[in-house]
Amino acid sequence: MNVHEYQAKQIFAKYGVPTPKGIMVESVDAAVEAAKELGGPIWVVKAQIHAGGRGLGGGVKLAKSLDEVRILADEILGMTLVTHQTGPEGKLVQKLYIEDGADIKDEFYLSVILDRKLEMPLIMASTEGGMNIEDVAEKTPEKIITVPVDPAIGFQGFHGRELAFGLGITDKAEQKNIISFAQKLFMLYMENDAELIEINPLVRTGSGEFLALDGKMGFDNSALYRQPEIAAMRDLSEEDPDEVEAAKYGLSYVALDGEIGCMVNGAGLAMGTMDTINYMGGTPANFLDVGGSANAETVAKGFEIILKNPKVKAIFVNIFGGIVRCDRIANGIIEATKLTDVHVPVVVRLDGTNAPEASEILKNANIQNLIVASDLGDGAAKSVAAAKGA
């Protein structure tokens, strides 16, 4: 789960990680009021959406007067912001963050991520602040410092010194500031079950303080049950409505661009099914994992979500029944076709426990548009053919 910049900064503030002062608003008038309260003389008007690259897309602008705050807030609020992370359809800006301008001497990059190879959190920093860190990693990898921190010992002094010296910070007061900054950041990473914290840029001010000018945070979904304050920060309007709807029924759904809707049990087989469709010359319309306990209701819901996509010309139901018996799933599919109007050909491949019985049930049901397939390859081929014929 991701949160907005203003929410990340609320968490930072709770742990004493310095940030410029700011106020989240949802209207132009409130933006001007917020600017008055902050005092100025310079403000930054920032679009709050769950995507990076907001500045380049025109969603972050500097205001030098209250009038400018009003003009910029009016311009940004309600705009559809397109960045390299939003996709071409962009994201509607519904919230703004009005922030004090900062006295920027120079810019750094700082993040905490989970290093899957080391199996522990890793602090990553660079003097190349404000840049895309992937580009820095590719062009000048020597400018990235990595400091793994074993959670069993926590953030120690030496971690801080490696960071400070690595960034070329030589002033003793500044060293103290950056070490304290990183230590608090690591603590909040651990205590909140964060998956990622990224501050880009982290700025050094004229007086040698370090400030989080931006803040991005992602959290481990599996740990939200014990992080109620974080869970309450979830902004559903930032998520794909179909994915949210699917999740309510225990389905894992991701929309793609193609023409063949997929309904599969298991994440690996679901990806494998998409790959097979692609290999056979078709295009998958979605990833959909119905999970281990597929029944008539979840299958019907799956059909409904897949069919919302007007591009879908055929559906491939690919189930390898393990503990779940295929005959039950076959009945589920028949039930589901009664609950939902399925107007495209449906190719069904059921394998595993009680597969022959399932295939009999489907054949005897005499459902129009239902094509039975014998295995994965056969099913993918039949789906591709059905989509082309439709």
Binding site: Q85, L114, R116, K117, E119, M120, E134, D150, P151, A152, M190, D193, E195, D220, N221, S222, A223, Y225, R226, S252, V254, L256, V264, N265, G266, A267, G268, L269, A270, M271, G272, M274, D275, T276, I277, N278, Y279, M280, P284, F287, D289, F320, G321, G322, I323, D351, G352, T353, D375, L376, G377, A380
Partner: protein, 289 residues
């Protein structure tokens, strides 16, 4: 022969009397797994599925001599359960539960390693030595005895792969589900050499997916140390960047962890890489004939 588990392996179940634990433990017993007891706090002294229940893993180990634990406790208690098993001297913990917090697994795995305990999973279908011992949730009847070792991040792709291998007239020595979480226990790197050393295993199927770099590490190891033929499939060639595809660890971050990168590395290591999982059976036949 087989790897890690066989019909003699003594197994206990943590979360024995719960709904999932009971259902799957019963299936395992039916399959022939030597389940010697289970652990559910405050139910010690009872008998469940004809086996003794203990309050703690250490009591269970002392009384039964179990070396493997199958873990079915709810996600919030997985870290605790794994560490308890490690402390009690269990040699291998098979963690079936899905949805354990990543932080808990970091701690638990580090602790297990310190105690010399191997782990499998979490969020995995378990491990099965065909027609001898099933520790997990896979449909046992698919796995016929034979000479193919299988390692997979995905449950249903394990079934798909094993089924094709058996339909081609071959069979399975041991199939291992390693799980698709960001932090997992035994992986290709540890399991490939075990299959290499197992005289019954003639060929290894490895099924991977997008995210992380375990398959890249595997490619390096195969090039240097594995002489048996390896067939591989990597799921997620058509997955978009930056989206989690069902498994918490199945995500392409930036340009890292793509299927193509992994397939290329495996091909360069001499592995027979298939583009669709529908080709696994045929590929095994090809490398074995």
């Amino acid at each position: 022969m087989s790897i890690l588990v066989n019909k003699k392996t003594k197994v206990i179940v943590q979360g024995f009397t719960g709904k999932e634990g009971s259902f799957h433990a019963e299936q395992c017993i039916e399959y022939g797994t030597n389940i010697v007891g289970g652990v559910t706090p405050n139910k010690g002294g009872q008998t469940h599925l004809g086996k003794p229940v203990f309050n703690t893993v250490s009591e269970a180990v002392k009384a039964t001599g179990a070396t493997v634990s199958m873990i079915f406790v709810p996600p919030a208690f997985v870290g605790d359960a794994v560490m308890e098993a490690a402390e009690a001297g269990i040699e291998l913990a098979v963690i079936i539960t899905e949805g354990a917090p990543v932080k808990d697994m970091q701690m638990a795995k580090a602790y297990a390693t310190k105690h010399g305990m191997k782990t499998l999973g979490p969020n995995c279908p378990g491990i099965i030595t065909a027609q001898e011992c099933k520790i997990g949730i896979m449909p046992g009847m698919i796995f016929k005895k034979g000479g193919v070792g299988l390692i997979s991040k995905s449950g249903t792709l394990t079934y798909e792969g094993a089924n094709q291998v058996c339909n081609e007239g071959y069979g399975i020595t041991t199939a291992v589900g390693i799980g698709g979480d960001p932090i997992i226990g035994l992986s290709y790197k540890q399991l490939l050499p075990m299959f290499e050393a197992d005289p019954e295993t003639k060929c290894i199927v490895m099924i991977g997916e997008i995210g992380g770099d375990l398959e890249i590490q595997a490619a390096k190891l195969i090039k240097e140390k594995i002489t048996k033929p390896v067939v591989a499939f990597i799921a997620g060639q058509t997955a978009p960047k930056g989206k989690t595809m069902g498994h918490a660890g199945a995500i392409v971050s930036g340009s890292a962890g793509t299927a193509k990168e992994k397939m290329d590395a495996l091909k360069a290591a001499g592995v027979k890489v298939v583009v669709s999982p529908a080709e696994i059976g045929k590929a095994v036949k090809e490398v074995l004939s």
